[in-house]
């Protein structure tokens, strides 16, 4: 139960990290440069980007915004307005293919979304994704879903010409891919060095990971404290239970001590039993947690497009102090008992 409790809490908290990195995971495959205090990335900066050795393609991109529901609320999600050639390259680079429908036509109020986003928003082909009356998915004209995408990353895209025509204040950003897909990280670092921060901002996967981890660091600290309290409380209670359990077994220990067992051997016997019990308990708890989280994922999270990893190794690592602390607590409790154990006092109780 305690393993399930700790692992479930950590898995749910980890799903924040997982959600952010999955939702915005497209940044592994391309960087985005957005202007600051301007409606377009200045041409000299664009030129500097094109001249970087790892730069492959640079496409203009204009963003519209929608939202994705997460377990911690709605998160903004960029609908990339891309020119046809750029969109083709980005889809190919991200390993995305059309799962249903088609790609948006140039200049038309149409959008294609990853199937996960469509499921998350409960949208079907033909449904309106952006609309004039929406606060978080605004567009001057209704924009309909015409295609869903399947692949390892989430993406939303429309045509650059449509955004340019209907979102007059949407800035003109740049989507930058590396010459060699394996060199995207190197290009990201080069972009961060080359682009002056006062005039433009570079959005990379590296920065996303860094910013996410920084944002969640306080949460993880709180989580660590909460888990430490849970572990201590459970270990204390279990230690007390072990004490009661071993009190009931005192005649057994007294007999063994009387016939010549060393206290150390008795303690090792208890250690072995407790460690085995805790290990089996941990394994059963971990398996039960995987089952529980898999069920939650299948029945609750996945249908809503929410992310949860039932095999989150970090979550199970958080549970490791449980069997260790419980064993130590039980051992100390029994050691104190055995230290004062007088076999004769037990044997003489001639019940």
């Amino acid at each position: 139960m305690s393993v399930a409790l700790v692992a479930s809490v950590v898995s749910l908290v980890d799903s924040i990290d997982l959600t952010v990195l999955t939702m915005y995971g497209y940044q592994r495959h391309f960087a985005v440069v957005t202007p600051r205090n301007a409606l377009a990335v200045p041409e000299d900066i664009a030129e500097r980007i094109r001249s970087l050795p790892d730069t492959g393609s640079v496409y203009p991109a204009r963003p519209a915004f929608t939202v994705v529901k997460t377990i911690f609320g709605k998160m903004p999600f960029v609908v990339f307005g891309l020119p046809p050639q750029g969109r083709a390259e980005i889809l190919q680079r991200c390993g995305l293919r059309i799962a249903s429908g088609r790609l948006p036509r140039d200049g038309r109020p149409e959008v294609a979304l990853s199937a996960e986003i469509a499921r998350n928003r409960r949208l079907h082909l033909g449904d309106v994704v952006l609309e004039p009356n929406s606060e978080d998915s605004y567009s001057l004209v209704p924009v309909r879903l015409v295609g869903t995408l399947q692949g390892p990353v989430w993406l939303a895209t429309t045509s650059e010409s449509f955004v340019r025509a209907h979102f007059p204040v949407a800035p003109r950003a740049l989507v930058v891919t590396s010459r060699d897909p394996d060199r995207q990280g190197a290009l990201d670092r080069a972009l961060e060095r080359a682009v002056p921060r006062a005039r433009s901002r570079v959005w990379t996967y590296r920065a996303l990971v860094r910013d996410t981890r920084e944002a969640l660091s306080s949460l993880y600290l709180i989580l660590a404290v909460v888990i430490a309290i849970i572990v201590f409380s459970i270990a204390f209670l279990t230690g007390m239970l072990a004490n009661i359990y071993f009190t009931q077994r005192l005649p057994e220990f007294a007999t063994l001590a009387a016939i010549g067992w060393q206290r150390r051997a008795l303690l090792l016997r208890v250690l072995g039993e407790t460690a085995l019990l805790c290990t089996v308990g941990w394994a059963v708890g971990a398996l039960a947690t995987v089952g529980l989280l898999s069920a939650i994922k299948s029945w609750i999270m996945h249908p809503r497009g929410l992310l949860l990893e039932p095999l989150d190794v970090a979550a199970y690592r958080f549970t490791l102090p449980l069997p260790i602390t419980i064993t130590l607590f039980a051992l100390v409790a029994v050691w104190l008992r055995l230290k004062r154990l007088d076999p004769v006092s037990i044997i003489e109780r001639r019940q």
């Binding site: 007999t255 016939i259 010549g260 206290r263 044997i347 001639r350």
Partner: protein, 231 residues
């Protein structure tokens, strides 16, 4: 004429004193004993006479408050708790009034708890012992599936598994009926040629076949081997 065989276990003016507030009470007072390497020895006395306390002193389960006990000329006062435990494990065997068997182990496994090394030869010895005590077919049963007499026989087998030099039996028949009581005493007595068997009881009938019977009353060993007689 003095017996030429040396004492295996010797108690010299050994006492066990308790304090009840400021008043000292002797459970055993200045007892002197010399137990030779073989024989069936009885200690008899009424309830509360200190006979069990004497057995605890002789077996090293309790430390003497005065005097000392020697096993083959090594005094217990020179042994630490580990050494005493080792002595009990390797050279002594015990049968208590209550069987105190481990309920989650079979009879055979219970016998093996007293073996320092639970190896194959110990396992074979345990099987042979259970056979010889007439409970071989019950070796794989748990204590809760055994009668009182059968449990006490398992305890006798446990006491004998190491072929100890001394077996201490504290009221081994008290929880048994007459027939089972005699059967257990006979089993213990049969060990008299291989080692010393000390049986503490309040039932004189059980000690009818003893080589020697010591009497205790109010902590005094009435017919002990006086200090002058100790070799």
């Amino acid at each position: 004429m003095a017996d030429p065989s040396p004492c295996r276990l010797r108690a010299d003016r050994v006492s066990l004193r308790y304090f009840d507030g400021d008043a000292a009470t002797y459970a055993v007072h200045h007892a002197c004993l010399c137990l030779r390497p073989a024989g069936f020895i009885g200690v008899i006395g009424p309830s509360g006479s200190g006979k069990s306390s004497l057995l605890y002193l002789l077996s090293g389960l309790k430390r003497a408050t005065e005097g000392d006990v020697w096993m083959d000329a090594v005094p217990y006062s020179r042994m630490d708790d580990r050494a005493l435990a080792d002595l009990r494990r390797r050279r002594f065997g015990f049968v208590f009034q209550q069987p105190f068997l481990l309920s989650y182990l079979t009879a055979w496994e219970n016998v093996l708890t007293a073996a320092p090394h639970g190896d194959r030869s110990a396992g074979r010895r345990a099987s042979t012992l259970l056979e010889s005590l007439g409970i071989g077919p019950l070796a794989n049963r748990h204590p809760y599936h055994l009668s009182g007499g059968e449990r006490q026989r398992v305890c006798v087998a446990r006491a004998m598994i190491n072929e100890p030099e001394v077996i201490f039996a504290d009221e081994p028949t008290a929880a048994l009926d007459h027939v089972n009581g005699h059967a257990v005493i006979d089993l213990l007595a049969s060990y008299r040629h291989r080692g010393t068997v000390i049986v503490v009881t309040h039932d004189a009938e059980m000690l009818a076949g003893a080589d020697r019977v010591y009497r205790m009353r109010d902590g005094i060993l009435e017919n002990g081997d006086g200090p002058a007689n100790l070799p």
